[in-house]
């Protein structure tokens, strides 16, 4: 009988996974609380804002974790490993759908995609900051855009991005600086309006 209740909130992701591997289901529940929303939004963004598909993919990835917790390598960071799996699932989906090159997000290097996917809200206010941000983001190189989104949308650290994309931290910093400065310069008008 457990006399002292474990504080799962203060435990790291790796510790929680270790606990779940030993049979502690509450530990996995804590992991799901931490990353459920992140992963769902990541899938939602990468899969053309298809909520049903995002749900299916989110359930699939967590089901894999539930049934095969041994797949996780404790020597790696759980967050980076989880997003790597999610990224690979998206790539497989692109291959399956054979529409990878036509997506607004995952386009080949050097190709500046057009902002042809617009939500109803964006169509109403095309001059809004979010719309222009989407447009400018879609004009970016895919690698630069991916680093920028992982850093500011998913909230991953430089090291986590480096692990996930298997590139050096210096490369991540370089891509991030260039993208941020470029977008800030292009969206400076909106920043002025926002400041006012």
């Amino acid at each position: 009988m457990r006399l002292i209740k474990k504080n799962y909130v203060k435990s790291s992701d790796e510790e929680l996974m270790l606990l779940y591997t030993k049979g502690d289901r509450k530990a996995f529940e804590e992991i799901y609380k931490r990353y459920g929303t992140y992963i769902y939004n990541y899938f939602n963004r990468k899969l053309w804002y298809d909520s049903e598909k995002s749900e299916d993919f989110t359930q699939e990835i967590f089901t894999k974790l539930i049934n095969k917790p041994g797949l996780f390598d404790p020597s790696k960071k759980f967050k980076s490993w989880l997003f790597t799996i999610a990224n690979n699932m998206c790539k497989n989906e692109y291959k399956r759908m054979e529409v990878r090159k036509s997506t607004s997000y995952d386009v080949p290097e050097g190709y500046e995609a057009k902002a042809d996917i617009k939500s109803a809200e964006n169509q109403v206010d095309e001059n809004s900051f979010s719309t222009q941000l989407d447009v400018e983001l879609n004009k970016l190189n895919e690698k630069h855009k991916e680093v920028f989104m992982l850093r500011h949308f998913e909230g991953l650290s430089l090291n986590e991005i480096s692990d996930m994309l298997e590139i050096s931290v210096g490369t991540v910093k370089s891509r991030l600086h260039n993208t941020t400065k470029l977008l800030a310069k292009k969206l400076n008008t909106f920043n002025t309006l926002l400041a006012e």
Binding site: R25, Y32, R151, K185, N191
Partner: protein, 315 residues
């Protein structure tokens, strides 16, 4: 230590210490650039936060249901195997164990029902071998030709006795000795002939169809074949020698394997005939009990009118 983006988002330019200014130098070197980047990042974060969605409740329920439905402890491989072979939620005939067992039984049944071609071939070979081995001891089959030979010899003998007046010259000249014409009542008794032919006798052959060399060769072959143990008799033919009415001559054909070559040699043997009409080899000595005819020179040649006219002159 905070990243450059975190410093920009959390602090104002005038709050930066030298190390933080060095960290954000890649983004902004002056306060205007710094503020511009800060405004952009704040606005971007607001947009991204607005774009984020909450987890659907159905998704939460399904994931948690999956979590608490599945056993956390690992299943051992044999438990998985047993569960696969004997599923609880399927009828027995859908169970893989039942299907595998039935398939195995079917295969074994088919193999057992299939006629064994190889064993059939072996049986045929065995039959042949058995026939060979038994054949050596089957006297009736071997003796049957001999009986026929005896009959043939008898027939030939009687036929020659009828035409006894025509005696072969060769036979008489080979012996070079007068032979005795058998009486009628003792015509079935034959006597051993001399085993060799002298040069003198051969010189008397005269117009014989067989010259000296041929006769000598025939005799040498006889001797060789008698002494050799490796001779294998393949064909036996029996003939009545028409050169003499007193003897039965059987010609035997031998197959001799020498140096891998099959050599067939025909050998003529002379037999004498006893009262019981069984022939013995001419080279074997006659039994004591056998009556021997005295050889008389007056019977050296059968006197026929033709021969008398050719070879004899009336003094």
């Amino acid at each position: 230590m905070m990243d450059a983006e975190q410093i920009i988002l959390t602090k104002e330019f005038y709050q930066l210490n030298p190390s933080e200014k060095e960290a954000v130098k890649a983004y902004a070197e002056n306060e205007n650039d710094y503020n511009e980047i800060k405004s952009f990042l704040l606005a971007t974060h607001q947009v991204f936060e607005a774009q984020k969605n909450e987890l659907p409740q159905s998704l939460n329920q399904s994931v948690l249901a999956e979590l608490y439905a599945s056993p956390a402890e690992k299943k051992t491989w044999y438990k998985k195997l047993l569960l696969f072979l004997f599923p609880l939620d399927k009828p027995f005939y859908f169970a893989p164990s039942f299907q595998i067992g039935m398939a195995t039984a079917l295969v074994l049944l088919l193999f057992n029902l299939k006629p064994n071609v190889e064993s059939g071939e072996n049986l045929a070979i065995h039959t042949v071998e058995e026939h060979k081995s038994v054949g050596g001891h089957m006297e009736p089959e071997e003796e049957a030709p001999a009986a026929e030979v005896n009959d043939n010899i008898d027939a030939l003998t009687s036929a020659e006795e009828v035409a006894d007046q025509k005696i072969s010259e060769v036979s008489e000249k080979e012996t070079a000795k007068p032979t005795t014409t058998l009486p009628v009542d003792t015509k079935d008794k034959y006597y051993q002939q001399p085993p060799s032919i002298s040069d003198q006798s051969l010189s008397e052959i005269g117009n014989s169809e067989m010259d000296k060399d041929e006769v000598t060769q025939t005799m040498q072959e006889d001797m060789v074949l008698e002494e050799s143990e490796e001779i294998e008799v393949t064909i036996v033919e029996n003939q009545k020698d028409d050169n003499s009415n007193n003897t039965a001559v059987i010609t035997e054909t031998y197959g001799n394997a020498e140096d891998g070559n099959k050599v067939q040699t025909s050998v003529t043997s002379t037999f004498r005939k006893s009262n019981n009409k069984k022939y013995k080899s001419a080279q074997e000595p006659a039994a004591v009990s056998e009556p021997q005819m005295e050889r008389s020179p007056q019977y050296a040649l059968s006197q026929t009118p033709e021969l008398n006219g050719l070879f004899f002159t009336v003094k």
